[in-house]
Structure formats: structure tokens, C-alpha cells
């Protein structure tokens, strides 16, 4: 039970921790919920985008005269319609519309707005682009070679001394750690060093990017868009289009999944530019093919991981080399990924060196704990191999090294109360850990970490005349967060959950909010909601004091009622929220609570996953038999949606481990840009996903809440790999562990045995 830092009292909850129906549920089971592509506007045009067929090409010229002359075409835009810039938005500008060069297959080169989809498609075919095809590179190791085709002739590696004189595809070098790894390895009884590769995957949200833009000749605009952050969309788009931020109002639609992939802009500035030119609203919706080719997948990686241990399993040193390619622009998450990927353990000596590399692929975007699953795959695979070699129980081996309160993390801070040990113990105690395995079956364990994030947050809460509440939050609800907000407001005010209605306010109705990312919403918007409720309570107590003619300090709030604080305060009947609301006009006018802040102390979340698989040696197919997620939620506000985050992240990770990958041809073109060939897990691939919610309260939140959304994708790639490796008796080091890769490994093993 959490300790409330405000009162230092262990508190019980009336509503937090229950499982009420979500407020947006009815709309979502009846088809009424309005997602990105579901909006229309009077006079609306259809926008379509022309994309580069080449992985790397100079654009000599674009001739759109024939397209512009086609009846029904109302606007064509190219890079000429966006002013160039040299600030930190330039990469975004160049990514949303190629300037001079197409840097990847799928890179936008032009766009049209027309009266129908068929006219728009015809118009795209009439735009003539004169390309000079250039050599390309899509592989991270090849892109780092000195003679690799260069994407940007002005890209100088940062983080290297002396500063390089020549450009390269290496955007940045990072390094962190502590202690002396050479000394650590000298002290070790066993050192294991392995190389790993992971392929790029896509977030795979089922809703393609979609928006409806409307800009008038008065310079005012509106944008309806599926995004994880409509304030970010507003600020970026207004700057790219040279609009006043106040003149662009952005409304977040219901969002059909994002997982990090909707934390940037792609089609939105293009739709706004088309609308401005055409003088009419324009809707742009990506096809699935475009989502794969032109939105933001993850990095692919190439890594070397070396870990030394004493005989008892205690780690003496870790040394890692991480190479992440992040597509055509700098920003591969090798820094956060590396820091998070090694965070589970206490290392006396650690060194992590990472490279952020550009290639001719779409610019990577965040994907759930960005960068962490890959490094964790390498760390947890080596840990598993060490445990196997030393014949240690894999959970005991992890417990020996587990980060706990007081551990100095490799990335700097010393941990406060964290729950890794608790998740390991929960995993060990779970019945799944005791199931006996059969032939061709294997068990894998892996732990994972994510920092979690707070960030800029603003919430308003308005009391209605009947005592119900309108709660306005500014973080798009991506997985049921409105239910959690309502629960926390109801808890704080002591009123029924059903009396609170949460909405996602548009950018003109509420102050700035950072994007829904970093597992921050239930933590940060939740804490803002609690404080906004406390702000309203203070005002409510003031109104009661006024009615009773006693000082405000002599009134307390208890479970939905204003009460005199004690006998000395006077003898008055408690006044309900409903009464105070009904009398608001007579006691000083509307009553609202508000809170704005930059949330800190998000409190990291650790997890431990246990998976059993069976591998068919004839086909190389891996069946997941059972899967367990144990994760620290701090305090689960709505346990069903916490379990949902655990299960969803685990299954995305299973897909990454077993099937999902971006496959490039020698021509630099993506060969599997559809759900048939890029295979995400389906219901028949999976068992039930068992969960155990661990609650180690986060002292940085009044209820102890920690973010839970991202950690769940960190362990699966390693856990599944460890299980598959145990099932086939070969250590696998490349993801995905798809049937062809497993068959290849089995074949090589057979050849070794025969030879």
C-alpha cells in the first residue's frame, strides 16, 4: 500500500485500483468513435503523396504542369512550398518533403489535392520527376565503412575528439559508464562475448496516419489528426508553414495505436500546405504501404556484448559496442536504448560505446521504450549463457546482480525504491516457472527496464451545476488513460467515478502538454489531475467557509463533503459537492481546478518475463506455449489496462523476436511493405499472456504510480531468444528468430556434429 509523500501516511483507496468501464468505451464498441480518417469537412479535397521509388537519388527537377492542368486537381505542392530553414526543425522539414535528394524509398517528393481519390491518383502519375539515381546503403555496418555512399555531405560525427574533418554516415558517438572494465574482466572467472544483430521493426499501429487540414486565406487553420501529441503537431506545423502558433488549432482524434510512431509529423504539414494553396479542406490518409515505407520504424542494430562474472555469478564488468541505424537522419536511440538496456544490473565496471548511424531508410521513430529492447536482447542473452555455463538458476543469477534502491545506474542516477527484485521473486513464485518442459521445448527468462518520463503537463477540471465534473487533459488517450484520469479525480474528490467525464482538449482550449510518450500519461496527467482536484477542493472549502461564515482553514474536505475541521470550527452540516455546485453562482461564480507543471520523478519500471516455447525442428517454427509478465506498476490505477499494457508490449516483443523484420532488396527497396509479408502476431499464434502486477510505490507520485506502457516490450526479444536457444541447444544471436533462421542454425549445428 503506497505511502503518500504529502502526508507520509499509508493510504487505502476507494476507487483507484478498481476496474470500471472506460468512458470512451461505448463509442468504441459501436463504431461511433471518430478516428483520424473518420472526419469530413464541407468542400473537402483528397490529398495524395508522390514518393520516391529510389533509395537514394538526386532530384534534378519536378514538372507538375500536367498534373496541375488535370480537371479536378486543386493544388500541387513540392519542397518549393516550404521555406528552407537551418534550425533544429530542418531534418523534419526535409523528411516531410524531399529537398534536392530523395534519401529513402518512400520519401515524399510532391503532393496533390484533388476532388476525388481517383483524380488524385491520376495526377500523381502526371508529375514528372527527373532523378539521378545514387548509390545507397541500408545496412548499419556497411554504412559505417569509410567508402560507404554518403547521405549528407555536411554530417560530421559529434562526440568524437578531435572533430572529424570529413563527413560520414556516423551522426554521433556516445559513451557512458563507470569503473575500469579491463580490471573488471581481469577479476572475472568467466567472460562471455557475443555479437548480435536485430532487424528493424514497425510499431504496426492498425490505424494509418490520417489528418484533415483546413487553412484559410486569413492565415487561420484547423487540423484534425491522429497523433500522440497535438501540441507538438501544432508547434512544428505552424513553424514549418510560417503560421502564428495561435492561428493553428489542432484537435486530436481518437488514435488507433501509436506506440511512439505518432510522436512526430509526416503528412500533417503537407496537408496544411495543400489546403492553404487550394483554399479548401484537405484530407490525407496514408495507405498501409506508405505507413511501412514512409513513417518511422525502429532502428536495426549490430552489437557486441561482453560480460565478465565471478564463479558465483556476480558480474565484474560489462563492455558493449552498440551500432544503431536510424534511417536517413540522425537520432537513432542508441543513447537511451543503451542506457535502459543495461539498467537492470549493478556493475562495478561498465563501459558502453554507441554509434548513431544514418542509412537510406525511412527516419526511425520512437517505438515503445525506444532502443532498449535491442541492447537488452544482447545483455540478457549473455547473462543467460553465463547462467547456463555456471549452472546457476537464471533468476538467482539475476537476483545476485539486480539493481535495487541505492544502486548507481550506468547512466548516472542512483536508484530510489525500484521493483526489479520483486518482479524476479514474483516470477520465481509463479506456477509457470515450475511447469516441466518436454522435448524441443525451452524456457527463457529476461528482465527489462524503462526510465519513464514526466514532462510538461496541464489539466483543467470544471465543476458543473449538478456536481459532475468535466476534466480536460491534453495527452491523447492511447490505451484507456481517460478511465485512469476519471478514477484519480473521483478518488481525490470523493465522488463516484461516473460523475467525472474526461476529454482530450484541443490546443486552443488548454495549455501546452508534451506528447503522450515515455509512459508518462497516467503518471504526469494523473498527478496533474490530482493537483487540479486539490485546487478545486481548496476553492470548494472556501465556498463552504463563506456560507458558514468561518475561516477557510477551518474547513476540511472528506469523501465528497466540506466539513468543519473540528468542534472549534463550528457545528455545521457537511456540505456535498453537489450542494456547493448548485450554489456556486451565489457564492462566487464558477468553480474550477487547474494545474500546470513540468513533472519530474517519474520512477522507473522494471519487469521480468518468463516464456516457454516449443520449436519444430523440421520447420523451424516456434510456438509460444506460455508467457508470464511480472512488472512493477507502482500503483495500478486501473488494473485491467495495466495488464493490457503488459500483454500488449509482450506480444509486440514476441513479434519482434520471432517474425517481424524490414526486408530490403539489393535495390534498397523494402520488400515486405504490407501485413501479409510483414507478419505481426495474430490470435492463433499466442497463448493467454499471464500477468503479475508488482506494486513498489513511486515516491514521486501521490498515489505511488509508475508508468507501465513501455517496459513490457524490453524483455521479450531476449526472453524468447533464451527460450528458443534452450529448446534447440544453440545460442541464437539474431532477430527475428524466424523459421528460416532457426533452420539455418539447426543445419549448421548438424554439419558441425557430422564434421
Amino acid at each position: 500500500m503506497p505511502l503518500d509523500p504529502a502526508t507520509q501516511k499509508i493510504r487505502a483507496f476507494d476507487q483507484v485500483g478498481t476496474r470500471p468501464l472506460r468512458p470512451d468505451g461505448l463509442d468504441k464498441v459501436t463504431g461511433r468513435a471518430r478516428f483520424g480518417a473518420d472526419a469530413t469537412a464541407p468542400g473537402m479535397l483528397v490529398g495524395r503523396i508522390l514518393r520516391s521509388p529510389h533509395a537514394h537519388a538526386r532530384i534534378r527537377s519536378i514538372d507538375a504542369t500536367k498534373a496541375e492542368a488535370l480537371p479536378g486537381v486543386k493544388a500541387v505542392v513540392t519542397s518549393k512550398d516550404f521555406a528552407d530553414r537551418s534550425d533544429d526543425l530542418r531534418d523534419i522539414l526535409v523528411n516531410i518533403m524531399a529537398r534536392g535528394k530523395a534519401l529513402y524509398e518512400g520519401h515524399t517528393v510532391a503532393a496533390v489535392a484533388a476532388t476525388s481519390a481517383s483524380v488524385a491518383r491520376k495526377a500523381l502519375k502526371l508529375i514528372k520527376v527527373d532523378y539521378e539515381v545514387l548509390p545507397h546503403v541500408t545496412d548499419v555496418d556497411l554504412a559505417m565503412e569509410p567508402d560507404a555512399p554518403l547521405l549528407h555531405d555536411d554530417l560530421i560525427t559529434s562526440g568524437v575528439e578531435p572533430v572529424p574533418t570529413k563527413p560520414s554516415n556516423i551522426a554521433r558517438k556516445i559513451e557512458f559508464g563507470h569503473g575500469d572494465v579491463d580490471k573488471g574482466f581481469a577479476e572475472a572467472d568467466l567472460v562471455v562475448e557475443r555479437e548480435f544483430k536485430t532487424e528493424a521493426t514497425h510499431q504496426g499501429y492498425i490505424e494509418p496516419h490520417a489528418c484533415l487540414a483546413s487553412v484559410g486565406s486569413d492565415g487561420q487553420g484547423e487540423l484534425w489528426v491522429c497523433t500522440q501529441g497535438h501540441y507538438m503537431v501544432r508547434d512544428v506545423c505552424a513553424q514549418l508553414l510560417g503560421m502564428d502558433v495561435s492561428k493553428l488549432r489542432v484537435t486530436a482524434s481518437e488514435i488507433g495505436g501509436g506506440f511512439g510512431g505518432k510522436t512526430t509529423v509526416f503528412i500533417e504539414p503537407v496537408a496544411l500546405a495543400l489546403s492553404r494553396k487550394a483554399g479548401r479542406p484537405v484530407k490525407v490518409v496514408m495507405t498501409r504501404d506508405e505507413v511501412f515505407r514512409a513513417s518511422g520504424p525502429t532502428s536495426s542494430t549490430s552489437m557486441r556484448m561482453k560480460i565478465g562474472v565471478k564463479k558465483d555469478g556476480r558480474i565484474t564488468a560489462l563492455d558493449a559496442l552498440l551500432k544503431y541505424q536510424g534511417g536517413a537522419f540522425a537520432g537513432a536511440p542508441v543513447d537511451y536504448g543503451g542506457m535502459a538496456g543495461v539498467a537492470c544490473y549493478d556493475y562495478p565496471n561498465i563501459r558502453v560505446v554507441g554509434y548513431d548511424v544514418v542509412t537510406n531508410r525511412p527516419k526511425q521513430a520512437a517505438y515503445r521504450a525506444p532502443g532498449a529492447p535491442m541492447t537488452a536482447f544482447a545483455v540478457e542473452s549473455v547473462i543467460a549463457e553465463i547462467a547456463d555455463t555456471l549452472k546457476l538458476d537464471p533468476i538467482e543469477m539475476r537476483l545476485k546482480n539486480a539493481a535495487k534502491e541505492g544502486t548507481k545506474s550506468a547512466y548516472g542516477p542512483t536508484f530510489g525504491p525500484v521493483g526489479l527484485v520483486e518482479t524476479l521473486k514474483a516470477a520465481k513464485a509463479h506456477p509457470n516457472y515450475k511447469v516441466k518442459l518436454g522435448k524441443n521445448q525451452g524456457r527463457g527468462i529476461a528482465s527489462g527496464f524503462w526510465f519513464n518520463f514526466g514532462g510538461q503537463t496541464c489539466v483543467s477540471l470544471n465543476l458543473n451545476i449538478d456536481g459532475t465534473l468535466a476534466l480536460a487533459v491534453g495527452t491523447p488517450d492511447i490505451g484507456g488513460s481517460r478511465a485512469s484520469m476519471c478514477l484519480m479525480a473521483a478518488e481525490e474528490l470523493g465522488i463516484p467515478y461516473e460523475n467525472v467525464r474526461a476529454i482530450i482538449a484541443d490546443t486552443s482550449s488548454l495549455g501546452y502538454n508534451d506528447v503522450t510518450d515515455g509512459s508518462r500519461v497516467t503518471f504526469a496527467s494523473g498527478m496533474a489531475t490530482i493537483h487540479a482536484a486539490r485546487d478545486a477542493i481548496k476553492k470548494l472549502c472556501g465556498r463552504a467557509a463563506k456560507v458558514w461564515g468561518i475561516p477557510e482553514e477551518a474547513v476540511v474536505w472528506e469523501k465528497g463533503f466540506a466539513k468543519p475541521s473540528g468542534a472549534n470550527a463550528g457545528n455545521f452540516e457537511p456540505m456535498s459537492l453537489k450542494e456547493l455546485a448548485a450554489n456556486a453562482a451565489k457564492t462566487g461564480g464558477p468553480i474550477a481546478g487547474h494545474y500546470e507543471y513540468n513533472a519530474e520523478n517519474a520512477g522507473p519500471s522494471f519487469a521480468t518475463h518468463v516464456v516457454d516455447v516449443e520449436v519444430d525442428p523440421e520447420t523451424g517454427f516456434t510456438k509460444v506455449l506460455r508467457y508470464l509478465v511480472c512488472q512493477d506498476a507502482g500503483k495500478a490505477v486501473h488494473p485491467s489496462y495495466v495488464e493490457g499494457q503488459f500483454q500488449g508490449g509482450a506480444v509486440q516483443g514476441i513479434g519482434w523476436a520471432l517474425n517481424e523484420e524490414y526486408i530490403y532488396g539489393a535495390d534498397g527497396r523494402l520488400q515486405n511493405a504490407g501485413f501479409l509479408d510483414y507478419r505481426i502476431p495474430v490470435a492463433s499464434d499466442l497463448p493467454m499472456i499471464d500477468t503479475a502486477i508488482v506494486e513498489v510505490p513511486n515516491p514521486g507520485h501521490p498515489y505511488g504510480v509508475r508508468g507501465v506502457g513501455e517496459t513490457s516490450i524490453v524483455p521479450p526479444m531476449a526472453a524468447v531468444s533464451n527460450a528458443v536457444s534452450h529448446a534447440v541447444g544453440i545460442r541464437l544471436t539474431e532477430s527475428p528468430m524466424s523459421p528460416p533462421r532457426i533452420l539455418k542454425a539447426l543445419g549448421e549445428q548438424a554439419a558441425r556434429k557430422a564434421g
Binding site: G25, K28, T30, G31, G257, T287, Y641, G674, F675, L676
Partner: protein, 162 residues
Amino acid sequence: MAGTHVKTTINGDSVEYVCEADETLLDVLRNRLALTGAKEGCGTGDCGACSVTVDGRLVCSCLVLGVEAEGRNVATIEGLAQGEHLHPLQRKFLEHAALQCGICTPGFLVAAKALLEKNPDPSEHEIRFWLAGNLCRCTGYDKIVRAVQDAAAEMRGGRHAA
């Protein structure tokens, strides 16, 4: 392009529309009839977000042409609830938290209803294989499968004949 006049029945109502030859039933539902409950997740029949039934048969409406609905009986998510009474599947999806973002939910509900009409007592295995044509990226399917199991049990109990 000359349009084709189509007369059909959607959720029990007579409907007429004119559509182009290359328009899918999904395009017609969404863009001409304002029935946006069916979603386009892929446009290639791989995700099931556009699931509807045509004469009782479960189809991806992105793989059916608008003109093919002539004389047929189309059922969409918008017809699943009866007035203010939700179908048991809709209630169970809410109770089990079987949706997170909700984009795939209409397709899952239409597909699950088609399953329970054929097989009122499906095993977990049968549910998982029937729903294998519907992609969900948020839930990992656990709570969806449980919601379908629970709805099937309730419907077999006869309390909510649907």
C-alpha cells in the same frame, strides 16, 4: 468515370447509392454512407479492421467492390447494438477491457458475432483461429479471447438472445 447505381440493404435498411467501378464496399460505407465504423487498416484484406458480413458471410469490405453489394444484405458494426441495448459481445468487450485504442474493435466484434452464429460454443483454439484474420496491436489478444468466451457463455445461457 460513369457511376453505377446500387440498391442494397445495410443493417436492415434499404439503401441506394451511386459509386464508381473501382470503389470498394469499404469506400462506399465510409465515404458515401457515413458509416465509418468499419476501418481501413491495410486495404489488402490482411487486418480485418473493415470486417462486415454480406448475406451473413464474414468478409473484408476492402476486398468487395461497392457494386457487388447490389441486392445483398450487408451488416456492419453500426447495426450490432439494438437501440440502446448493446450486443453481449459489445458489453463483454467493455467489461474485459478487450480494447485499448479501439481501432480494431469494430472488426473484431463483427467477426466474433459471425463466429458465434456458426458455433455458439467455440473452444479457445477455435476462437483464436477464427479471429486470426483480425489484427490487434494493443492487447495481445488475451482479453479479446476472454471477452468472446464470456459473451458466448452468456449467449448460450439464453439471457440475451441476439
